[in-house]
Subunit: 89 residues, 6 copies
């Protein structure tokens, strides 16, 4: 049976495409992907708030969160060909 | 002799292909790959439940799980050419 | 509702483009991206100062910060085609 | 003198090629590569059993092992061109 | 205001180019990049010495440092097309 | 002055090229690169032996070492075009 902890809520398509207009928008999509994935792994609101409280002033965990954003951003940057063609316009 | 802990149950082909229609489906395949790999490394149901209990409200471990999803997703995104051609249709 | 902790201040576009003239400038953009992302995840000034105090003399955390810079730099280096064409000029 | 801890037993060529027929076979090769590499780093059977006992019910270490599989799988997936041409047949 | 901890000393351009003649030189550039980045994050000489003392006999931190070198080396290897053309000469 | 801790002994060119005949040889080169890099970071023989004793029966550290090998192997695999052309011969 599908492990309910890891089920991504299909109705909430937070990532219809990896294409964005600018690097900054790509960065925000990366942040959304990290949040939504943690949300799919742990769907309980209270636990998510407790987890947030745990990492929000912890240097190691804040850097962990930043690393997750960096890993997703790399995928998005390649998908958008590094927004190079945006330069020529 | 094949180390039984790491044997992947051949009958359960959870990954016949890396190709998916949308980024979100690619994300769900990535989550399945993480779950199934941990399942291949540790096949005992009780231990898996205990492990789940251990990480489900731990900020560092939740971010760890999210990182595994991000690493698998990168492979799937490249395999699907970032669903770019889906854009033009 | 948008998770306010992860909201990136849209007005502060610290990354209009990934293109830089030299590897060193690419390195400084990578450092800015890490700082701004941690800033987006944790916007409270006092907490950021406390976090800074925590990691600034901790070997493991300093290496963590250096790793984040290395991951962002890799993306920027590819975006700039490794500044190869800068060689020929 | 060759550091014996890191010597890979040349006779046991567990990786004659990176090419596999299916993603699942690629996944199993990745798992074998992780096992054999740890085996090359630590060749003592008793220690390997003790290490197995240590990680087999530890969430952080199980995720670590899954990450190693994910990193090797990425290399194998690229080597097999993501089994794309297998799709057309 | 520019976060002074992360300011890279512009005058000290330790990385005018990513191109090197041999893999070994690429490896040494990677090591320099790691050192200089940690130096940009933490510019205080005494703290740097204390940090050095902390990691120089710690297995986990030494491997951390080796990982940072490996990540930078990957970028440099691609930039130099893996020194393949050096083979043909 | 060159930071002596990170100086790689130029005379010992353990990596004249990234090209190897087989994946297994590529794996052994990756293991050598990890050993030599840790050796460059920490050149004191006694400390290296103490560090070896520390990680040789520690699950987390053994997996760390295996990860370093996996990261280097990825670079070598790409350099050798995944030994694909070796298949056709």
């Amino acid at each position: 049976e599908e492990n309910k902890t890891m089920r991504t809520q299909k109705n909430d398509d937070y990532m219809p495409s990896l294409i964005t207009d600018t690097p900054l928008e790509g960065r925000m999509l990366a942040i959304t992907m990290v949040r939504k994935t943690i949300g799919a792994i742990q769907q309980d609101g209270d636990i998510k708030k407790a987890v947030r409280k745990e990492y929000q002033d912890d240097a190691a965990l804040l850097m962990r969160a930043a690393e997750l954003v960096a890993i997703e951003f790399k995928t998005i940057a390649i998908a958008n060909n590094y927004w190079r063609d945006k330069q020529e316009k």
